[in-house]
């Protein structure tokens, strides 16, 4: 198992390298650049600026410098568009924000979605099943840009319970609505996924065996059915969790939370190459980490997978 984990971690290096090279060249293929504007800079000024950011060198030299700085000093370079800020600064400021509300959003998704799915499965074709399934479908098709204003309308404007935006160091009042707005449709998917797999597991022969043992229903659900029923949800949650903790552009913009979702959009508009590359690397690393975590969790749950790993 340790061996497997190490192997997977080693795989990260070449993959990241390929990703960086591709992203680096692709971005520069797009027309325009960080310093193009409606009124072009005088050629002398432009030359100065380009020299300052090392952009007068050939592309492969720039790429090499970029990679070298990351490896030697963990330096992702200066932002091209935001003066006097480095990529490290931008991520250090924005990522904790999205990590916080994304994490709580994932907690909300799992703590609500999984139990709802299980209850619906246990009350199969009953009142609660239909209610739950109906609600799940409704919230799945309910876009977050409708949900978020609705939340603000109710919790901020009507009841005055929660602040309508801002971050304020991440106090809980500022986390609630971003987390709900971000998570609701995923929560609905998780509920439906859990319901379906729980129903399938409950109909399986080994659950019949468990019933034939005369075990109480509680034990059958918790000990025999829960683990296998959670496997599809686990697979689903890996990439979704990455998406959540890297924040959503919509949430950052609507609630003015100041997370990296906002930075990504700003970076794309202003062709801020270094910010975009830095964020792409962050996404890639997180995706790697989470898929590895999901695979290890799988191995923990399923002895057959575990046997395959060692």
């Amino acid at each position: 198992m340790l061996n497997y984990t190490l192997r997977r971690l080693l795989m990260v290096i070449p993959t990241l390298l390929i990703l960086v090279i591709f992203a680096f060249y692709l971005m520069r293929l797009a027309p325009g650049g960080p310093f193009t504007s409606e009124r072009p800079l005088p050629p002398a000024v432009m030359a100065n600026v380009l020299e300052r950011y090392g952009m007068d060198e050939p592309l492969y030299v720039q790429l090499w410098t970029y990679i070298k700085n990351i490896i030697c000093c963990f330096d992702f370079g200066p932002s091209f568009a935001q003066k006097d800020r480095t990529v490290n600064d931008v991520i250090a400021q924005g990522f904790p924000v999205t990590l916080t509300y994304g994490f709580w959003s994932a907690v909300f998704v799992l703590m609500l979605g999984v139990p709802l799915g299980i209850i619906a499965a246990l009350r199969h074709n009953g009142f609660w099943d239909y209610t739950m399934t109906g609600l799940a479908i409704f919230s799945q098709i309910f876009p977050n840009f409708v949900l978020a204003p609705l939340l603000v309308l109710l919790f901020t404007l009507s009841w005055g319970l929660l602040p309508g935006g801002g971050w304020n160091g991440g106090q809980w009042q500022y986390i609630v609505m971003p987390a709900i707005a971000l998570g609701t449709s995923y929560m609905a998917s998780v509920a439906r996924l859990t319901r379906g797999s729980m129903l399938e597991v409950l109909g399986s022969p080994y659950i019949r065996t468990a019933r034939a043992k005369g075990l109480p229903e509680r034990t059958i659900i918790l000990r025999h059915a829960l683990k296998p029923a959670l496997l599809p949800t686990l697979t689903y949650m890996g990439p979704v969790f990455v998406y959540m903790i890297t924040g959503s552009v919509f949430v950052d913009v609507f609630f003015s939370t100041g997370g990296i979702g906002q930075d990504f959009i700003d970076g794309a508009y202003s062709r801020d190459y270094s910010i975009l590359l830095g964020l792409a690397i962050l996404y890639a690393v997180l995706t790697f980490a989470l898929t590895l975590a999901v695979d290890l969790l799988y191995a923990w749950i399923d002895p057959k997978v575990r046997a395959g790993l060692s």
């Binding site: 043992k213 005369g214 000990r223 057959k304 046997a307």
Partner: protein, 315 residues
């Protein structure tokens, strides 16, 4: 000990009622071995599931299933759970899917006695080892920690049998215990069941479509067709002098090892449509001896057979 009286099992399905078991009555004595024989769809497995209270949700059941005087069909889920495993054990057909792939063998065995007899984990493990030895699983101590996928089919079926034995029940329902196994392994498993039966004095109801298995193991046989009892007799009698044309048909379809040149005679036709409650002998459409009355009246079980024209009266 177990007495099934006028058992009817129907299933509500998308295209109407299916009458799976119709008016079946039989009883099982202490320390006996009985076989329920029939082709697929004859309702034999449903009888076992009805006794365990494990029928599918769309089933409707009539009649009585008396277990030491208590009607299991009227028992509360709590009472039913007490009887399951502790008094009546069941062995399912497919050992590949009837064990939980996510739990160790040990946990799947120990949880039974921990729950029913309030045993500590240590005592439960000791009992599990004992039972694993009894079903002849080699190296039981280390194998306890293994998962189902680490065992062969035959070994898994031994584990399923071990599960049924954990609480030393007085009745074991074996629902096609050897169907999913290789022929050589089949013989070993049947031998094992026989040893266990005689050692523990447990009664066994063997549900099977394999007459060869019946001959070596059971004292009494009950032949089912279309959810009805066709014939019931001592095993020797049934094999020597079958009384019902269906039983004779079944026996003719079994290869004879002493005379391989013997041609096998298949029963023509196919199993009955069970959407309607039978109004006539369900076997009549396939029976070579059937006359008009067979197609009009429903024969009742008399002298161990439900036939208007039993073989011995024809010859």
């Amino acid at each position: 000990m177990l007495s099934v009286e006028n058992l009817h099992i129907r299933f509500r399905t998308g295209d109407g009622m299916v009458h799976a078991v119709n008016d079946v009555s039989f009883s099982v004595d202490t320390s006996s071995r009985m076989a329920v024989v029939g082709e697929s769809g004859s309702g034999k497995s449903q009888i076992a599931l009805a006794v365990m209270g494990l029928l599918a949700k769309n089933a409707e059941v009539d009649g009585r299933i008396l277990w030491n005087g208590q009607d299991l069909l009227a028992a509360s889920p709590r009472e039913m759970n007490r009887i399951r495993a502790q008094e009546i054990g069941i062995i399912f057909q497919d050992p590949m899917s009837s064990l939980n792939p996510y739990m160790t063998i040990e946990r799947q065995l120990t949880e039974i006695v921990e729950h029913h007899e309030g045993m500590s984990r240590r005592d439960a493990r000791a009992r599990a080892l004992e039972v694993m030895d009894a079903v002849r699983i080699p190296d039981a101590k280390t194998r306890l920690r293994a998962y189902p996928h680490e065992f062969s089919g035959g070994m898994r079926q031994r584990i399923v049998i071990a599960m049924a034995l954990m609480c030393r029940p007085s009745l074991i329902l074996a629902d096609e215990p050897t169907t999913a196994l290789d022929v050589t392994v089949q013989a070993q498993i049947m031998q094992l069941l026989q040893d266990v039966q005689s050692d523990l004095g447990t009664s066994v109801v063997l549900i099977t479509h394999d007459l060869g298995v019946v001959a070596g193991f059971c004292e009494d046989v009950l032949v089912l067709y279309g959810g009805r009892i066709m014939e019931t007799a001592r095993t020797d009698t049934l094999f020597d002098r079958p009384s019902h044309p269906y039983t004779r048909g079944l026996l003719r379809a079994v290869p004879n090892i002493e005379d391989p040149s013997d041609t096998l005679i298949a029963i023509p036709g196919s199993p009955p449509n069970q959407h309607r409650f039978p109004q006539a002998c369900p076997f009549a459409p396939r029976c070579t001896d059937a006359v008009d009355t067979c197609r009009e009246t429903l024969p009742q079980l008399r002298d161990g057979r439900a036939c208007l024209r039993p073989i011995e009266e024809l010859t």
